[in-house]
Symmetry: C2
Subunit: 338 residues, 2 copies
């Protein structure tokens, strides 16, 4: 038994999420039953999809229940096990939620996965070699499916998903252009992540201005786009798409607070014979092994080592999460718990 | 040699197309060269895509040049031939344009196709067993790809493309719901074309109201949608789509006059993991034989015999075309030339 500090969803946001939507409490971890494993979390992952779950709206996933521990990916160490496949000291990744410890029924397939930290640091299993990386892989490989020499753009390019899209597209011989918020992120995207170019959308008043910048950065047009943002970024990209271009719609963070977010010019879908496709990576478990293998090699070899934003302590999770929604993070947002 | 009355594009529309955009002239047909065929047109096809060509805007096809004969599909009879595969009396389909006669270089692959009028009336080769029918086939079969029991919706359901989509979807065991303008068209769509239901979009003030009507007509939601219109119709349909639904974007006639036509809620593409895909049937010639075979059987067997709107004489083409853009036609719009 251990004291477990955890964060619950207390009430739902009206407009923007605030710290007041969350509630902190400390409880003792329960006694393990057969098949269960007690895990001490080293890192909690904060991701944009969590904002969607905070709303009580029809979506692809049920809403986060009020009064329960916030959902979230975690990596950590097994401290006690009553399951034969897990032993104290194992490094594991799972969906432990916003808390210091979790008790997992390891008999459920996929609930807990052992990971090897020889070449890949543990925290990266929440980012580049985890759900965000696989998300990037699915959208790029299965929807955009770019050919060498084609141009791929990515919004939220400095983030966990966007940076993976860039690394995977570069590995396929593409010209890769990021879109990010602020000059620091753009420098990082170009100089550290190795994108061919990066555009700061914040200096553009409207989508027509952003589209002009994209024209310069993508002289051969855009063949594929990975969308994390929506709104003005998507409108600008669509103006520069080539015939038969593909857009993988992974996120529309610009609309998560409920403001209307129309698409300015859907007729371009017809004019450019585009394919626009939304997806949720958890519905495509069959591609995870191939994606994790490639991403593990890119990170393990040092080809792809994205930055992390690390907040300290479970108490910092709400503020760090709200900062993520406002784009204050730099790369994968984590909360360090040990 | 024969006297050929024809219609040229004289100037480009500002806003709506008007009769003043066109010019009529009569010239003699030229002497045939080797490989050429002279055709007397029996019918000219009028289609919404022509409106797009009248604009001098970037699109999937070059604009219709000023001072040249308006582009258009035609069926007719060979009256003279200097090509070994064609003889006087042959029934042929081609792109003869808005005129009474055309001279075709039959050595060009695909320029001219002989057709059999034993079971299919000649005019249907411009509609149900022609480009509009194949357009419906591609969007339904290659993009929507519906399973038996799924619900498919079609806008402009009484038109040449929409009616073919309905017949093909019924043949695949789907529930088919049309959207059309006016009570007469809706009665025709249900009673003559055999759709399960049809909604008159004109009685709805906004897309939320139309979406309510769709909810009643599609109790199991919408799995596939064939879009000819855009705007409020597309917005309403998107609200009722199921997870993994597909939208084939064939036309956005609501925006052809240049007014802005935003999509209200593109986040639904993500929420419902939709695929939205635009296409142009002329870029998929490989599917024409299979499509024409199925459509020919549906029409030849009497299972599918859509109505035609027939204007008389080449001089009537501009008014008939403008009527088509306003939805005044009833089924496939033709101009009878003999």
């Amino acid at each position: 038994m251990a004291q477990n500090t955890r964060i619950l969803l207390d009430n739902r946001p009206v407009g923007e999420a605030t710290p007041g939507n969350f509630r902190l409490e400390t409880v003792a971890t329960p006694t393990l039953q057969d098949g269960q494993v007690l895990i001490r979390h080293h890192y909690l992952s904060l991701d944009p999809y969590m904002r969607g779950r905070m709303n009580d709206a029809k979506s692809y996933a049920p809403p986060q229940p009020l009064g329960e521990v916030m959902i979230g990916g975690t990596v950590g160490e097994v401290v006690d096990s009553r399951h034969p496949r897990f032993a104290a000291g194992d490094s594991v990744v799972g969906m432990g939620g916003w808390q210091q410890y979790s008790v997992v029924d390891a008999t459920q397939p996929g609930a807990l996965r052992k990971v090897d930290t020889t070449h890949v640091p543990l925290s990266h299993y929440l980012g580049a070699v985890g759900m965000p990386g696989v998300t990037g892989w699915y959208g790029l490989v299965k929807i955009i499916d770019p050919k060498p020499g084609q141009t791929v753009t990515v919004s939220a390019a400095s983030g966990a998903v966007g940076s993976a899209v860039g690394a995977l597209a570069k590995a396929r011989g593409c010209r890769v252009v990021g879109i990010a918020g602020g000059p620091d992120k753009c420098v990082y995207v170009k100089n550290e992540l190795g994108f061919d170019d990066c555009i700061d959308y914040r200096v553009h008043q409207d989508y027509l201005s952003l589209a002009k910048a994209l024209k310069q950065a993508c002289p051969n047009g855009i063949d594929g786009h990975f969308e994390n943002v929506g709104g003005m970024v998507l409108d600008a990209v669509m103006l520069r798409t080539n015939a038969f271009s593909r857009i993988a719609v992974c996120g529309m963070i610009a609309g998560y607070d409920g403001q209307p977010l129309p698409m300015a010019n859907p007729a371009l879908i017809l004019v450019n014979r585009m394919r626009v496709e939304g997806f949720i990576v958890s519905e495509h478990m069959e591609i995870w092994p191939a994606a994790l293998t490639e991403l593990g090699q890119l990170v393990g070899s040092g080809t792809f080592r994205p930055r992390e934003s690390v907040a300290e302590g479970i108490e910092s999770a709400p503020d760090a999460f709200i900062g993520l929604l406002k784009g204050r993070n730099f790369g994968k947002q984590l909360v360090k718990l040990v």
